[in-house]
Each structure stands twice: as structure tokens, then as C-alpha cells.
Amino acid sequence: MKAFTQHRGLVGPMDRANVDTDMIIPKQFLKSIKRSGFGPNLFDELRYLDQGEPGQDCSDRPLNPDFPLNEPRYKGASILLARKNFGCGSSREHAPWALEDYGFKAVIAPSYADIFYNNCFKNGVLPVILSENEVDELFQELASDEGYHLNIDLAAQTVTTDSGKIFSFELDEFRKECLLSGLDEIGLTLTSSDLIKEYEIEREKQHPWVFGAIK
């Protein structure tokens, strides 16, 4: 997986609760067998006025002027500021793939749906959790400051504003370590191969029907 250590970037808003993965990347784009190229279709239904189809050139599609991320001031945003239960719905990893491909390195929200949260770490996108009040505060600062940047430090677990305010966030140690080092998780699990094999031998003695049925 890709590593994440520190990032300073322009902040873009997604000011609604319960943003689901269908909204992040609509289903017609899930037909792709690739991992990349989803960025132009991130938030497709909100972002464009026409209906998007896979394989289409998005550069001349009509943009929805009411969608904040289409405003010039948010061009190049790499930190998405969002509301609670972000990423709910389907398990599609295409959601973090689309965020990453668009250029987002991190999301900041009060809470996430479990599967989406998990999927972000696998793709070097850091989902930061701050309290609702803190997120409110960031939304206010963002509204009044064109070119609003934030600084995220994963090792220190902090989000810092340019004016010097510091917000701390929590995350699991193992997720943090994996992301900091960009570890190959499969390779890491395979270092426990012997343990897995021992487990299988023991388990097959106890629950033999779990093995061998599907051929």
C-alpha cells in the first residue's frame, strides 16, 4: 500500500451527512476491471449536469455550478472536509480509489462507515476523525478563507491550521503503522504462514466439514 506521513493541502468541502459510496462513485463506473482512472467520475452525479458513462471523456461535460468542488477556489484540493457517517453503503473500494485518483490525500469527518474507513487505509488515503464541533469550526474557517490549507501529521496525530490551532485525532496503532510505512499487508500476514497452517491442521481435526467440500 501507499504510505502517508505528512501532508499540507488545500481543503475542499462536502457539506452533507451520510454521503454514501454510490454518491462518491456511481455504480456504472464499477464495471471497470482497473484500479485507476476513477478520479474524473468522483461525485459524478453531483458534479456534472449530464449523466456520466464509463469510458467517456469528462473534460467537455457540463459542470454543475452549484457543486462546491467545481468552484475555482477549490481546484487542486487534496483534503476533503466532510460530515458524519461519510462513506456509508456499499463496500466498493472504488470509493477511495476515486478520491485518491482525484487527488485527495485525506478526509476529515466526525465519523465514517466501517468498511469505507478500512478501505481508505489500504489506499494511502487518511480518514481523520475530529469531533462534530471541531469539524464545524473547520467548515466556518473554510467558508471565510479562500485558499484555506490544513496540515496533517500522521505520526503526531494532529491537524494544524495555518493560524496555529492544533486538533488531535485518534486512530488504531496498527492502521497508523501500516500507513506510515506503506507496508505490504499480504506479505506481512504471510510471515505468519506457519501459524496459519498449524491452525488449519488443528481446525480440520475439530471441524473437518469446513474443508474440502467445494470442488
Binding site: R16, P26, N85, S111, D114, D172, E173, P208, V210, I214
Partner: protein, 479 residues
């Protein structure tokens, strides 16, 4: 020391290693694959020069993307008109052939929606850990499995290692006791639960559904309930083993026979929460309070009894919730105060891994029998969840009932649940749907979804608008 919950038992039985950093390595017994979330995982495996850890654990089938139209299906994979879809289905076939994974191909007996096909073939059994690159994997928990959805990176991880690196969830118990009203189905119960705890209420938790209502429910009904645990934010939903669970499993294709069967049953009977087990949170509801449910908004928690009116955002305190309601009503084209039963439907969809099993087909057929679809309704899709459900329904003559009523009897697949194929809503159209998500655009760009039970959806098809199905059913007809 307190006893163990069902979830604790399943977890402990599959724990390989507890890491110092709080994560755990958990063994996976069954891995179900489909065409949409697996291609990148297989590609990753190939690029790293790895092969599957164990072959006899994986089972695959195409479902999300495929056509439900008989003629198109008869043309086979090479006849799928949309090129990108064709490549995806073909890629699954190729990957399964290449790696030697058991697949039920598009038109083979056994094929179906992953969560319908797994249990009905006996590929998922009590006590197993079950994963699939699909969030509705919780369905399999109806058989007392520890089952949940995973992302594509994890699909690759499970293929390569037979394990997941994960963290234990918290325990939540949802207890519903009491008499279930006439015409109230498992779908209504679970929608009412989601209405109560909210779409994020179960985040970080494994839910066990307990109480007389779930005990009395069929396994198919329990699957409908567990299926929607994810709509309450919980990746896992479960019901403990009882006699019904065991009877359901008996004789299915991949279920053991003879001595092995007896051995399995002895173990399965231990898969219940201990009396003194402690849950991190408890929710209690009474069946008497639950009427048939209909969603009016764009999130499954935006649900109300069919007898209610569309709620007013102004009754909510200011904040995200109120804003969400205002946006939802605007998207849905509804006004506060209008009766739910005044909502006119343009299309009806009866299907999806929530409600496409044989019981659901029967429930819809009871309502459709001898009646006609309203002339204002453009289309009624009846999509059985699997080839086996389809065959069974046809053996019972249900297909004829639907066709005589003016409904479309289709080939098995996900269909208009997520509208990746040609089955979709037009902008602004209202749909009475037995699926699980009413998100904006879920069933087609601009489409408006109302979630409900198969009986309610069939009644809406006949009435042309949402209607309380209860007076249509004689006592004893509804489950």
C-alpha cells in the same frame, strides 16, 4: 467472568493471532466472489506472483452486472451487449478458470445473487467466517456465521492468505419480542429497527438479533433481517442456531453427510450466546408496535409506517438531521403532511439479496394472484435471487401468476437493486422496491426508491400507489 456472546464464540474459534498493536489475524472459512469487486484483486495476486492459499474455500458467481432479460441471457457471455460489462463477466470466468476456483457461471444451475446462492447451496454453514466483496454479506449471519463485507484489497488478502487482519467489533443485541401483526413481514421488522437506531447506530458493532420474533421467523426471513444490518451501520448481523437452522442446512449440496453431519450438528448447537453473556449495547422493541414500513427519504432510516404521513423537517431540531430531511424530500418530490399511501409509483421491483428468496416470491404471488397491475405502472420486475429460486417458483406456478397479473418474470441477478445493467429507473420515477438502499440515484439517475416488503410492493403494483397490504391478505396468508 461473564459468558460469551455468539459473536465472541465465532471470533475466538477463528482467531489465529493477536498482534501487539490491537489488530488480530482471523481465519476465513468461506470466501464468496463476484464479477465487480474481484478483478483488481486477481490482478494484484498475479502481479505479485501469488496464488490462492486454499481453493476449496472460494466460490464465485456473476450477479451484479448481468442482464435479467431471457433473450440476452440466452446469448451467453459473448452476447452481453455492453462491452465493459461483458469484459467484466468474462474476466471473472477467466480468473476462476485460471486459478481453479469453483464458479457457477451465468446460466448454470446454482448461479444467483451471492448472498442467495451461498446459503442455498450449503456453501455457507453455521459457525463459519464468511466474507465477500459486498456489504450485504451480513445476510449469511442468519445461519449463525460471522459474515461481513470486505473491500477489494481484502479480497486479495483473503485469496492470498486465507486470513483477514482486523479488529474485534463490539457486541450489540437487538431484541424484538411479542406478536407480529398480520401482514407484517421480516422486512418491516428490520426497517423498523433501522428507523429506531439510525443508519450509523450500529457502526463498529456486530448485531445479534434475538427474541421471540426472530426465533419464530423462517431462515429466509432471518436472512432478510441480517441482510440489512449494514443499513444500520453494522457490518455483521447474526441469529443464533436453533432447530430451524439445522433443518435448513440438511441435504444441501455442500453440507456434510453421515458422521460428519452429526459431528457438525453437535458443534452448531453450541452457537448461541450464553445466558450470562454481556452486550455493549442493547436495543429492545415490541412487535405489536410495528406496522408495514415504507421509506419516504433517501436513507433507510427515513422510514415510516404505511399508515403515517410524510414527516415535517421542522419537527426536528436544527442541524444535520433537519437539513438531510429537507434535501431528501426535495429529491423525492414529496411534501410534508401527505399520506404515505398517496405516493404514486411508476415502477415496481421485487428482487435483490434482501427479498428474492422463494418465500418472498410466494409472498408477492399471494398478492398478485388474480389481480392486475395498474395501467399507470410502467413496469413490474420480478427477479428471483437465483436459478434455484427461479426453478422452484416455476415448479409452484408462481411465474404464471406474475405473468397473468402483467408483471415481468426475469432471470436471476441483482438487477434494479443497483441498476448496473439495463434495469433502471428514469429520472423522477418512483419505485416500490424490495431492495435495501434508497440512496439518491441507487436505482438509476434521479430515481426515487421506496423500500418495502414484497407483499407491499406487489400491492403497490396493483393499486398504482403505495397502499396498506393488510386488508388484502386473509388471516394466515401472511407469514
Amino acid at each position: 467472568m461473564a459468558g460469551k456472546t455468539l459473536y465472541d464464540k465465532l471470533w475466538d474459534a477463528h482467531l489465529i493471532k493477536q498482534n501487539d498493536d490491537g489488530s488480530s489475524v482471523l481465519y476465513i472459512d468461506r470466501h464468496v466472489l463476484h464479477e465487480v469487486t474481484s478483478p483488481q484483486a486477481f490482478e494484484g495476486l498475479r502481479l505479485a506472483g501469488r496464488s490462492p492459499w486454499r481453493l476449496d474455500t472460494n466460490i464465485a458467481t456473476p450477479d451484479h452486472n448481468i442482464s435479467t432479460d431471457r433473450e440476452e441471457r440466452d446469448a451467453g457471455v459473448s452476447g452481453i451487449p455492453d462491452e465493459i460489462s461483458r469484459i467484466q463477466v468474462k474476466t471473472l470466468d477467466d480468473n476462476c478458470d485460471h486459478f481453479g476456483i469453483k464458479e457457477f457461471k451465468m446460466n448454470e444451475m446454482g448461479q444467483g445473487i451471492v448472498h442467495v446462492m451461498g446459503p442455498e447451496l450449503g456453501a455457507t454453514m453455521p459457525g463459519m467466517t464468511v466474507v465477500c466483496g459486498d456489504s450485504h454479506t451480513a445476510t449469511h449471519g442468519a445461519l449463525a456465521c460471522l459474515a461481513h463485507g470486505i473491500g477489494t484489497s481484502e479480497v486479495e488478502h483473503v485469496l492470498a492468505t486465507q486470513c483477514l487482519v482486523t479488529k474485534k467489533m463490539k457486541n450489540m443485541r437487538v431484541t424484538v419480542n411479542g406478536e407480529v401483526g398480520h401482514g407484517v413481514t421480516p422486512k418491516d421488522i428490520v426497517l423498523a429497527v433501522i428507523g429506531k437506531i439510525g443508519t450509523a447506530g450500529g457502526n463498529g458493532h456486530a448485531i445479534e438479533f434475538a427474541g421471540s420474533v426472530f426465533r419464530d421467523m423462517s431462515i429466509e426471513g432471518r436472512m432478510t433481517v441480517c441482510n440489512m444490518a449494514i443499513e444500520a451501520g453494522a457490518r455483521v448481523g447474526m441469529v443464533a442456531v436453533d432447530e430451524k437452522t439445522i433443518r435448513y442446512c440438511e441435504g444441501r449440496q455442500f453440507v456434510p453427510k453421515g458422521d460428519l453431519w452429526n459431528q457438525a450438528v453437535t458443534y452448531w448447537k453450541t452457537l448461541v450466546s450464553d445466558d450470562d453473556a454481556e452486550f455493549d449495547s442493547e436495543i429492545e422493541m415490541h412487535a405489536e408496535d410495528i406496522a408495514p414500513q415504507v421509506t419516504w427519504g433517501t436513507s433507510p432510516e427515513m422510514v415510516a409506517p404505511v399508515t403515517a404521513i410524510v414527516p415535517d423537517p421542522k419537527d426536528q431540531p436544527e442541524g444535520d438531521r433537519r437539513k438531510g430531511m429537507i434535501r431528501a424530500l426535495e429529491y423525492m418530490g414529496l411534501k410534508s403532511g401527505m399520506p404515505i399511501t398517496s405516493i404514486v409509483v411508476d415502477r415496481v421491483f421485487i428482487g435483490s439479496c434482501t427479498n428474492s428468496r422463494i418465500e418472498d416470491m410466494r409472498e408477492a404471488a399471494i398478492v398478485a394472484n388474480g389481480r392486475q397491475v395498474a395501467s399507470t405502472v410502467k413496469q413490474v420486475l420480478i427477479v428471483p435471487g437465483s436459478q434455484m429460486v427461479k426453478a422452484q417458483a416455476e415448479a409452484e406456478g408462481l411465474d404464471k401468476i406474475f405473468i397473468q397479473a402483467g408483471m415481468d418474470w426475469r432471470e436471476p441477478g441483482c438487477s434494479m437493486c443497483l441498476a448496473m445493467n439495463a434495469d433502471k429507473l428514469g429520472a423522477g420515477e418512483h419505485c416500490a422496491s424490495t431492495s435495501n438502499r434508497n440512496f439518491e440515484g441507487r436505482q438509476g439517475n434521479g430515481g426515487r426508491t421506496h423500500l418495502m416488503s414484497p407483499a407491499m410492493a406487489a400491492a403497490a403494483a396493483v393499486a398504482g400507489h403505495i397502499v396498506d397490504v393488510r386488508p388484502w391478505l386473509s388471516e394466515g396468508e401472511a407469514r
